[in-house]
Symmetry: C4
Amino acid sequence: MNKSRLEAFSDGVLAIIITIMVLELKVPHGSSLSALKPLVPVFMSYLLSFVYVGIYWNNHHHMMQMVKKVNGKVLWANLHLLFWLSLFPFATAWMGENHYDTWPVVIYGCIMLMAATAYFILESTLKKLHGPDSEFANTFGTSLKDTVSCLLYVIAIGGSFISSWIGIVCYILVAIIWFIPERRVEKKIA
Amino acid sequence: MNKSRLEAFSDGVLAIIITIMVLELKVPHGSSLSALKPLVPVFMSYLLSFVYVGIYWNNHHHMMQMVKKVNGKVLWANLHLLFWLSLFPFATAWMGENHYDTWPVVIYGCIMLMAATAYFILESTLKKLHGPDSEFANTFGTSLKDTVSCLLYVIAIGGSFISSWIGIVCYILVAIIWFIPERRVEKKIA
Amino acid sequence: MNKSRLEAFSDGVLAIIITIMVLELKVPHGSSLSALKPLVPVFMSYLLSFVYVGIYWNNHHHMMQMVKKVNGKVLWANLHLLFWLSLFPFATAWMGENHYDTWPVVIYGCIMLMAATAYFILESTLKKLHGPDSEFANTFGTSLKDTVSCLLYVIAIGGSFISSWIGIVCYILVAIIWFIPERRVEKKIA
Amino acid sequence: MNKSRLEAFSDGVLAIIITIMVLELKVPHGSSLSALKPLVPVFMSYLLSFVYVGIYWNNHHHMMQMVKKVNGKVLWANLHLLFWLSLFPFATAWMGENHYDTWPVVIYGCIMLMAATAYFILESTLKKLHGPDSEFANTFGTSLKDTVSCLLYVIAIGGSFISSWIGIVCYILVAIIWFIPERRVEKKIA
């Protein structure tokens, strides 16, 4: 089975998610600079989520490069990932419009955690398909990054009940540790 | 004639349909957890339709892999399918926002039935083009799944006038029986 | 220069145009069948425009198959076509929501005429690039269809000031004469 | 690493940006020609931004043709460009709906300047990756166009505080000087 349509479909969905999020930046009625002020928190949450979608796209891109074959299970594992990513615009807007209130920050973290889990399931499904001795399984071994980011999400979700800032700092930290591209793959390919 | 643009265009439309549906999850004004409560039925109908679009994408993907050629009739049969799929966001939102009232559930079923019919027409058009002895025609023979799901749609449409739950249960059943990928194709390709 | 990105970009824009049009089918508040009644004219104009976008996509698909090379002028001629097509959702919604009143029907026709002109310019630019003796220039000679549909648009625009029905009938006629795929190309390719 | 997905993703985002901008042309309630009058400034800003996105797509297309390889840095430089481009619909709508008032025109210019900077960073990243003696580095040398358009953006941003017209004229000038395709590349390829 061919992986190119899976890539094309994922690219399409991710491209739309990224662009739909910007629709939450509602055009203000006034034309003064101060009319933009209420948009600042919405803009910040847009920026954060844009980086997240960028990270997912980059990692998906890297991972798919090593993929030799796909099957029905992989298609569904990929759709499962896209489902959680499709909830980003909602979570982003809710968080931004409510000035990073407790529950919106918690829900944002839950959706992030679910997306990370879905990504992990996709990786595992691909590993199983390619076999334990494949180049794919060797490249995408147990990653410290995965563990740390999941831990950070859990801290974010719990900590937000004390202060939303704990959650936000955790989300920024996760973005930073993933910002660095998958050098493992680049080395293999080079 | 080349099938790759037909695939690319269908991928594009399906990716947008899936992402447009999520726009119906309107961001609530409050920031409490209870503010999400009215969204639960809308979310459930989103989830159901997401699975449906996923099924259509998967089956379309499987079918197109066996396709050797396309012609003008195939292009239109495909557009006809996309037309009915493009009505999913409307039907999904109407059903979710009205808490699964009779008519929205009935109309949802009608659109599902039309999409299934359109898919059947596309399959038949491709079969005719490839000839009765082609690998394509042999792979996509008469399927029990097609018959059962059409029957379930009809029961759903009729039964919804007694209780919406009959409709909803039928829609979930159809989703379940199609969730299993087309093993026929995977075998052939493997 | 490579034509595949031009195709991919056009497919993307057309896929989004087709799906954005459906957003004008605003989800009604009531759940009775009569709540759908005010949507009927909007739905009819959606159906008409869906067929039009389908025709443009089909013809674009057919034309690009014969294309051997593209240059900067072709890219802009193609963007010019996409510009007019991008106004379809607006014209479609305005016409549908105003129950086919005079001016909306006239403006719809003007945008259709501009799109047809843009398509003609794209074809001519491609013909010039491929040379008068190329297979491309031979396949896409002077077409009766082009002339008739432009004439019908002009009749539609003028006639709508007498009765909107003249316009609507003309638009349906144009859709019918273009529905038949470009047999010229299919023969050449076969 | 493969450049085709980077192209596909960029095409997707640009296609959606272009089409989302048109959504700001809100369908008027009346059906008279005068109901369209308040849309004229919105339409003009849509037209301007459409040309800008077209220019970016064309230049991106030209640049990517010379690209032999991409790495993680290029993916992020490209996402950075897409981020600023994703703010075009917002800036366009704000400017159009406020009849080219000072601040909207200034912000529009700032976003244009940031997008131009992001494009420059992407070009530099690609140059560095391909090496100083590569065909890529030779083709995309120091360009007068880049300098002039950046200068014009700065004049536009400053001048808008005197009169918005200075800004608008500058934006139109930039569009005109970039409208001419990258002959450098076309020569190389031919």
